[in-house]
Subunit: 198 residues, 2 copies
């Protein structure tokens, strides 16, 4: 079965509609999802940036919030402009990495995204992460403990290094057979990719 790697961040606003749309779109295209959480912070710092370009470039930032509102309205997904941006998401990212192959991973990712971009809540806390895991009928305490282990911490750093090595410069980024597609706008192109540009 064809597969799509989805490199994403819970703090990334354009990752939000991509993560919300992905499960249904991938099913329709008969493509299997490989979830690849990574941290955008170190990538941005490697460019010499201290935060998101949507914060440092005021004009672009203003546009992006309006674009998000229009996009979410079109997709029929809820949207609230977060009062804190970009939100820290280290703990949920560790859980996503640890459980990337679990059958409930899409539901977890969508819950964390909704907390940030529909409910305007902090997501980098054991409470926020635990609530999402519990809703999915999981043992939140045990998963969070594993997520905070040295092994998971190191694995998320390694996955972020791998993103850097692959030339990933933003999120979401889709990889299909080594072909890179950047941005929520390219989700359909990525799912339809058949190895030929023409």
């Amino acid at each position: 079965m064809k597969s799509i790697e989805v490199w994403f961040e819970f703090g990334s606003n354009y990752s939000y509609p991509a993560v919300m749309r992905l499960p249904a779109a991938a099913q329709k295209a008969a493509v299997c999802i490989r979830w690849k959480p990574f941290l955008l912070g170190p990538i941005f710092r490697s460019f010499g940036w201290t935060t998101s370009p949507f914060v440092t470039q005021k004009e672009k930032g203003a546009y992006v919030w309006r674009d998000m509102q229009r996009l979410c309205a079109r997709y029929g997904i809820p949207w609230t402009r977060p009062t804190a941006f970009p939100r820290r998401a280290i703990l949920p990212m560790r859980v996503a990495l640890l459980c990337a192959d679990a059958p409930w991973i899409a539901g977890f990712c969508q819950r964390m995204m909704l907390q940030n971009f529909a409910r305007d809540r902090e997501i980098d806390t054991p409470q926020a992460v635990g609530a999402a895991l519990s809703e999915l009928g999981l043992d939140a305490e045990s998963i969070i403990a594993q997520a905070q282990s040295d092994g998971t911490r190191a694995a998320l750093r390694a996955q972020t290094d791998e993103a850097c090595r692959l030339g990933i410069f933003g999120a979401p980024t889709f990889l299909v057979d080594g072909e890179m597609f950047w941005g929520n706008d390219r989700l359909e192109d990525a799912l339809a990719w058949d190895g030929r540009a023409a």
Copy 2:
């Protein structure tokens, strides 16, 4: 009749497919085009940049050329990665500003874009601009002389200031009833805009 303002630059790679697609797409949508040439250089310098982010961010730059190739293949328009980027385009921009309301303006803009992004030729010369104007059956010498007048030079600077004032941060940018859409990817959304985000 509904109208769309198209803020563009002949040196801007994503302005290329937008300018090539625009006349047919606008006709289909029954939308009148208002051509708004402006210079990206001063906008980028206002952000503290010395050139295009596609040059300074190597990873993003590498992606963008592949994305252009795929996009142009999909649209069925020719594509050659320019050996010089971003190309200076001051003279053709002045002509575009001077003649923005002429019935042949779309043909002129498309010819300059094709020189840059399909034939990989310099465009900031009286020869390149003159060839395009002559092909359109126009008096190239007279138009170029007017384009190089102090009045046209000042008008292009003023239009670039106006872009800055409007919060335009890249090209192409579409404005419909004051609503901003950034990038070739948003051309269809801009043409379909009916004043409601939902």
